[in-house]
């Protein structure tokens, strides 16, 4: 599904990613772990096409397409979804209008007619209940006045509405208490389609307890220095990152 080759990227002239190689197959969940500043968020931002980042070398293909030549909205239409670390508030734009614009933009890209209003509202109700998102929240402006947990649940809700092929969870666990984390993670598991894939970016084991990754990568200083199975995450939880650094000769 996703193939990243020797990816180098910088922001403001400073190189952050220094040769990333990553292959994500259909249905797989990959965890990317690492300390602050390792380049985890840069990686997710580059995949979705954030304009602040410049790709200086390498390639990303997504289901055979050259991702780097596509605009951010086209990448979204192709089926890439980013659950933001800090979802932004958009005052005045109701969740209903926002979701309808997003969904119909995707349908248009696929050559489909806009979804009839009745069907759309029914779909909203269905998906909303799975992440226990209050109906009051979906009638409010996008993320405005939402608590930290509500914002994260709202991201998962949007994922469910848009049914992406690849979801990137960028530190979705940050700022969540244990109960909120469980609701978000269980929501994600219920809403994810089996053939869809995910990249889970996190510092900690606790989100991975729910999401059960197939592959775990460790990102240090812009490179993936170690890759393993789920047991790698458990090991990091108990031993930290220093031993990996030493192993990699950093």
């Amino acid at each position: 599904m996703l193939q990243i080759n020797n990816l180098h990227a910088s922001i403001g002239g400073k190189e952050i990613l220094k040769g990333i190689n990553l292959v994500v197959k259909d249905g797989e969940i990959h965890a990317v772990m690492g300390l602050n500043g390792a380049g985890k968020s840069t990686l997710s931002n580059v995949i979705v096409g954030h304009p602040a980042y410049e790709v200086t070398q390498g390639s990303i293909t997504f289901n055979g397409k050259d991702l780097l030549s596509l605009k951010p909205e086209e990448r979204a239409h192709e089926g890439i979804f980013l659950s933001f670390q800090q979802p932004v508030e958009i005052p005045g734009v109701s969740m209903v209008n926002f979701m309808r614009a997003a969904l119909n933009a995707k349908r248009k890209y696929q050559g489909l007619e806009p979804m009839p209003a009745g069907d759309f509202l029914k779909l909203m109700r269905e998906k909303r209940s799975i992440v226990e998102l209050d109906s009051k929240l979906t009638s409010r402006s996008v993320n405005e006045g939402f608590s930290g947990g509500e914002k994260k649940r709202n991201e998962i809700f949007q994922m469910a509405m848009l049914e992406p092929l690849l979801t990137i969870l960028d530190e979705t666990d940050s700022g969540l208490d244990v109960d909120a984390l469980r609701v978000v993670a269980e929501g994600f598991n219920k809403l994810r389609r089996p053939e869809s894939s995910a990249i889970v970016i996190t510092h900690y084991q606790r989100l991975l307890d729910y999401l059960k990754p197939d592959v775990v990568h460790v990102l240090i200083d812009g490179r993936i220095v170690k890759t393993g199975g789920p047991e790698l995450a458990t090991e990091i939880e108990s031993r930290g990152f220093d031993w990996i650094k030493e192993e990699a000769g950093l």
Binding site: K71, A76, F84, V88, G92, V93, N104, K108, P114, Q158
Partner: protein, 482 residues
């Protein structure tokens, strides 16, 4: 809806200003220049009575003593009042043929603007007075309205058919001595609409006037007079467009509204005059005096305006709240892009007891435009218990535009409560990227955010207009981000 908007946006992006076409129609234009003779000629062409000619001449003579004001936050090109033709009549053909039928070219023009003049094709529930250049082309549904005693016709016709009413109210809310442009309009006003709603009548349909400038080198000086008698109600809409031309065109209008006891008037405007090109060349100079007089106790007046067009917009739809317990509202969205300039707002003059006014103003600036809110809230010593609430918000797109707020308060009564709130915000890159990531392109994201921001005002418009206004907001800001 979203798809509609998308295709609409693309369509307009290619053409920029959709209403920029001209109609090739035989038009009688009088020679350029302004003098007593021109004033007399206009009056004569309209077959006006002596008292109206006197009114015009008094206004003209007074205008000669005035200088064009300069207090607006505007950079105005000098206006050569001798280089403008003050009368253009596109209905020439019908007069020559003597048939009374409308030139099919004119019908086509209004069709193209989405204002069909055939009653069977018209928007349900809306009667239209269509004005091109200096002349009213057609007023629809007049007979139906007449059954209820409602008068809806062009002001020229009203002068002929209902001289007493016109004489009683013309200039009673905006006297010709009010200001420079009011004096000019009073001297040379051509056409516009006249509305009279008799006592106790609720007007059963929306009344609307559509103003169109067509002829080159002319100015439009329309005049609208609305009188709503005791316990009556009317909702009135005004729309405007003009062709794309390199030179500026002058539009100096007056709207007067009289609201009597327990009567209610809603006046909505969607102003989309040609704004000039992206370099700031051409465009309509929109210099307008609009005022309503809430004469009766418990009367209500609300102004709603969506201003997206014109190179320069200079207007303050105002309310004089004389009647006790009268209520006035002003809801405004003003959008400026490229080199457009707007200095707009309202005046609320509280005279009666327990009078109440609300001001909601939303300014949106993009490109290199300048957008100013200017408002006066005056509470006279007689206005016990008067209340005003004002909220003025500015939204900036980009960093080369300006937003300004000039609120004036003049309070002479201790029991009055006057509140003012103001905010300034910017559409952030993060908000746009968030929308992009969800598949919404930047143009549409701006449109969503701007429409969300202006919602409070748009919601006040009648349905048909609200949809138009929403499209217009998105289109006016084409290319303003990124």
């Amino acid at each position: 809806m979203a798809t509609d908007r998308n295709s609409f946006v693309r369509e307009v992006a290619e053409k920029k200003y959709e209403y920029g076409f001209t109609t090739d129609v035989q038009t009688e234009i009088i020679e350029k220049g302004l003098s007593e003779d021109v004033v007399r000629l206009i009056s004569q062409k309209k077959g006006e009575p002596e008292w109206l000619l006197e009114f015009r001449l008094n206004a003209y003579r007074y205008w000669l003593t005035l200088e064009q004001p300069t207090w607006g936050h505007l950079k105005m090109p000098p206006i050569d009042y001798q280089a403008i033709s003050y009368y253009a009549d596109p209905t020439q053909k019908k007069k020559e043929q003597g048939t009374g039928d409308i030139d099919p070219e004119l019908m086509k023009t209004f069709d193209k603007l989405g204002i069909p003049l055939e009653e069977r094709m018209a928007l349900a529930g809306t009667a239209v007075d269509a004005v091109m250049d200096s002349v009213s082309v057609k007023t629809t549904f007049r007979d139906k309205l007449k059954e209820k005693g409602i008068i809806f016709c062009s002001i020229s016709e009203a002068v002929r058919e209902h001289p007493d009413l016109v004489r009683e109210y013309l200039g009673s809310v905006v006297p010709y001595r009010d200001n420079f442009f009011a004096a000019l309009n009073s001297a040379v006003f051509s056409d516009g609409s006249f509305v009279y709603i008799p006592k106790g009548v609720r007007c059963p349909m929306e009344l609307s006037t559509y103003f169109r400038i067509n002829a080159r080198g002319t100015g439009q000086f329309e005049r609208t007079l609305i009188v709503c008698d005791d316990d009556a109600y009317v909702s009135y809409l005004e729309g405007c467009t003009a062709p794309m031309r390199d030179e500026n065109q002058l539009h100096a209008a007056i709207v007067e509204i009289v609201v009597k006891e327990r009567a209610e008037v809603k006046y909505s405007t969607v102003q989309n005059w040609y704004p000039g090109d992206s370099e700031g060349k051409g465009g309509v100079l929109n210099l307008v005096t609009k005022r309503g007089h809430l004469r009766g106790a418990n009367s209500k007046l609300s102004w709603t305006q969506v201003e997206t067009g014109s190179a320069i917009t200079w207007k303050y739809p105002s309310c004089v709240l004389s009647g006790d317990n009268s209520q006035a509202e002003f809801y405004s969205v003003a959008v400026t892009n490229n080199y457009q300039q707007a200095d707009t707002g309202t005046k609320m003059i509280h005279i009666g007891k327990n009078t109440k006014s609300t001001i909601i103003s939303k300014g949106i600036s993009a490109g290199r435009s300048q957008n100013a809110y200017r408002g006066l809230v005056k509470i006279a010593s007689t206005a016990d218990g008067a209340r005003n609430y004002s909220s003025c918000d500015s939204l900036l797109l980009g960093s080369h535009c300006g937003a300004h707020t000039f609120p004036y308060m003049d309070v002479h009564n201790d029991t009055a409560v006057v509140e003012h709130e103001a905010t300034t915000s910017k559409i952030s890159e993060d908000q746009l990227f968030y929308c992009n990531q969800r598949g919404i392109n930047t143009e549409e994201a701006v449109s969503l955010i701007v429409n969300g921001y202006a919602k409070e005002v748009i919601n006040k418009l009648p349905m048909e207009f609200a949809v138009e206004a929403q499209k217009l907001l998105g289109v006016s800001l084409e290319g303003s981000v990124g």
